[in-house]
């Protein structure tokens, strides 16, 4: 006897079984380039990755201040969670900077996930989940640093190197462009940057011997506008810093974080990543431009106008991807950059002229940089099979997580990692999609420390707050005279921006490795803190490799 099958119907979106509410109000329709230019004039919102084009990670909001911060507590928590098997199942981390527009929050998770949330209550409105290959090449975990918004759309990159535009009201895909080659080891992790009518994104994959690039797309149509490679081809400017042969084809220099922008110079300021192979410099003699550099890229032409290389011929994995903070001092248009190599660089952002170099971590022994910028290496993996220990380790004196600058105190606040590592050079043949490090690396699991330091524009350290461990999360400065800083232990702290005095802390249950923001809804100030330890923990803090991951967005406020 044949029995008919029960009709199980058509598979539905998993999110339809999550209690989410469906449609967000059209708050992003009115977010334009002009509005982002004046982002800090609407402090209730956090419209772009750093809060403003200048990269300062400063908000003028002052409802929460040095007097009352001890009274703040969780207002709501969003638990992202995970199900099924995902790429980087043991290395995912919650590293995003949330974006907030008129009471709606847009935030990305790992694995190509984006959520729209009610910023006052935390209720989920919609979700988008990109299908990410389990086997995509990820050097440093399954992570994403955030989204961008403009003209009714939310923009996000995915681990398999797509740039997607979503309808900000529904979360449905509007367009999708592939801008990296997963078979070559490329991926994408950065938060896009909106400039004029373009979405600008960089590529990841510097540990796989790719050729780093920055790309611009039309934000309406998704049409590709330009690509700027960070390793020149033979005959192009800078190509004489590479040897003859194929080294340039796999030279690295990835732009795996978000840059800053000055509309007056029309320049994008982007940090570039390490050369490849990371630790075997003998196969790529020369300075290896434009790796480990601050590059100024014409926003319209997509061409490099000037550069400043922080670590020529890097053999320590000292990416210069860190933020380029734009500020004015004594009438000059300057740029401040805390590099993985342990030095704080200040350059003139109109032409790249060096203004000042100051060490910002106690232990630097890889080499020395003089005040006039002369670099002298002293400890590096030179001989095959011979271990060499150096400070800072390959995660840097400051990892990718960001410093902040307060125009009120005129101080920079930098999260510092004081930890070393041992690298043993091991040459290997290049093969596409296979890690191309050129060494075995072991980061110290003891004798480490960390702190938040406040520096003025002259490089003078004004105060230091010591943590128990290296500081691995972006700091946030506010008009309430506060600096917020998360610790790997899970504590989230508020410090007095003028003195460094410790004012408040809360145990979030998992280590911090994200970029918290602040915003307001109906006159109430919130501090939004993505919490979820992970990523390249073996690189920046292997002593906490076994700590719980977490996947929560915890939002703090004063009691109602």
């Amino acid at each position: 006897m044949t029995v008919d099958y029960v009709d199980a119907g058509e598979a539905i979106d998993q999110g339809d079984l999550s209690g989410k509410h469906g449609t967000a109000p059209p708050v992003v329709e009115g977010v334009t380039y002009e509005r982002i230019l004046e982002a800090r004039s609407e402090p209730e919102n956090w419209l772009t990755y750093y809060g403003a084009y200048n990269g300062q990670r400063f908000s003028p909001l002052d409802q929460i201040n040095t007097e009352n911060v001890k009274r703040i507590g969780p207002a709501w928590v969003f638990q992202a969670g995970t199900s099924g098997m995902i790429a980087g199942a043991s290395t995912y981390a919650f590293e995003a900077a949330p974006i907030v527009v008129d009471g709606i929050m847009f935030v990305s998770g790992w694995d190509g996930w984006v959520w729209a949330l009610n910023a006052a209550t935390g209720n989920e409105i919609w979700r988008y989940k990109h299908a990410t290959p389990y086997d995509v090449s990820l050097c440093c975990g399954n992570v994403n640093r955030g989204v961008a918004v403009a003209k009714g759309k939310v923009f996000s990159v995915t681990p398999n190197a797509h740039l997607i535009a979503l309808d900000a009201s529904t979360g449905k895909k509007v367009w999708d462009r592939t801008y990296g080659d997963v078979r070559a080891g490329e991926s994408a992790t950065c938060a896009p940057l909106i400039v004029k009518n373009m979405v600008i994104v960089g590529s990841s994959g510097g540990e796989f011997g790719v050729r780093g690039h920055l790309d611009a797309f039309d934000l309406d149509s998704g049409e590709h506008q330009w690509r700027c490679y960070m390793v020149p081809k033979p005959g192009e400017p800078g190509s004489d810093t590479w040897p003859d042969g194929e080294a340039w084809t796999r030279g690295g220099g990835n732009c795996w974080l978000t840059g800053t922008f000055d509309p007056e110079t029309n320049l994008l300021y982007w940090g570039t990543g390490n050369p490849a192979p990371d630790f075997d410099g003998e196969v790529r003699e020369g300075d290896n431009l434009y790796t480990d550099s601050i590059v100024a890229v014409d926003a319209d032409a997509g061409e490099i106008r000037w550069h400043y290389q922080c670590t020529p011929h890097d053999v320590w994995d000292y990416d210069s991807i860190s933020e380029c903070i734009l500020f004015e001092h004594e009438g000059r248009k300057l740029l401040g950059h805390f590099d993985k190599n342990g030095y704080f660089f200040v350059v003139d952002r109109t032409d790249g002229e060096l203004v000042r170099i100051t060490p910002f971590v106690d232990r630097i022994d890889w080499g020395n940089i003089t005040r006039d910028g002369k670099v002298t290496p002293s400890r590096y993996p030179e001989k095959e099979g011979e271990p060499v220990h150096f400070f800072p380790g390959p995660a840097g004196a400051k990892e990718w997580t960001h410093a902040a600058y307060s125009p009120e105190t005129e101080l920079f606040y930098v999260p510092v990692q004081d930890v070393g590592a041992t690298a043993t050079r091991r040459r290997r043949e290049f093969k596409e999609s296979i890690p191309y490090w050129g060494a075995g690396v072991q980061v110290d699991i003891d004798d480490m420390t960390g702190y938040v330091s406040a520096f003025d524009a002259n490089g003078d350290e004004k105060w230091r707050w010591r943590g128990e461990l290296p500081m691995c999360a972006s700091v946030l400065a506010t008009g309430g005279g506060l600096v917020f800083a998360g610790e790997p232990t899970g504590f989230y702290n508020a410090l007095d921006a003028r003195t460094g005095e410790h004012l408040w802390r809360f145990q979030c249950g998992s280590g911090h490795h994200s970029s918290p923001v602040t915003y307001g809804v109906d006159g109430r100030q919130f501090i939004a803190v993505p919490v979820g330890w992970g990523g390249w923990a073996e690189g920046f803090l292997p002593g906490m490799l076994g700590a719980g991951h977490g996947s929560a967005l915890i939002v703090f406020a004063l009691p109602e």
């Binding site: 099958y5 029960v6 598979a11 539905i12 389990y134 070559a184 093969k431």
Partner: protein, 153 residues
């Protein structure tokens, strides 16, 4: 030690490719391999079954010739209820598959790589109802690096 040629025989001898013989469940991805069919319009189709008491997908590894849309027929011939959580751009697709049922799923997978699917109920995933969809092909030419062809493993 075993060679690749002996792998299938040894899996059977040790009971790794069946329920409650070697391990408690069945070793993941020890099932069949199947290829999706491609229609003239480029859309792809495939049928995936759950056979009685095997607690595995058949095929357990489904190969798509390229990225794009695929229409799946999902058949549960087992005497227990399972479900399917499948990868697709936008959101994962979910369907309940009660005993002796048949359902459908339309997925969009946009590029090369290995994507997992499973039955997320109880511990079906651990027992063997975890499968892979492998997408062949390359990324679009405009997304590739401007450099000479490089050696691959």
């Amino acid at each position: 030690m075993t060679s690749a040629q002996e792998r299938s025989d040894l899996m059977g001898k040790l009971g790794l490719n069946m329920q409650n013989r070697a391990a408690i469940g069945r070793l993941l991805n020890s099932g069949n391999v199947g290829e999706a069919k491609e229609r003239e319009d480029g859309r792809m189709t495939a049928t995936i079954r759950i056979n009685p008491d095997e607690l595995t997908w058949d095929p357990q590894i489904l190969v798509m010739p390229h990225g794009g849309d695929i229409e799946l027929e999902l058949i549960n011939d087992d005497l227990n209820t399972h479900c399917a959580l499948l990868p697709s751009n936008g959101d994962r697709k979910f369907i309940w598959l009660v005993n002796h049922s048949r359902g459908r799923a339309t997925l969009n997978l946009d590029g090369p790589g290995c994507y997992w699917y499973s039955s997320p109920t109880g511990n079906d995933e651990g027992r063997g109802l975890t499968g892979a969809i492998v997408v062949l092909g390359d990324v679009p030419p405009e997304a590739r690096l401007d450099r000479p062809d490089q050696p691959r493993p």
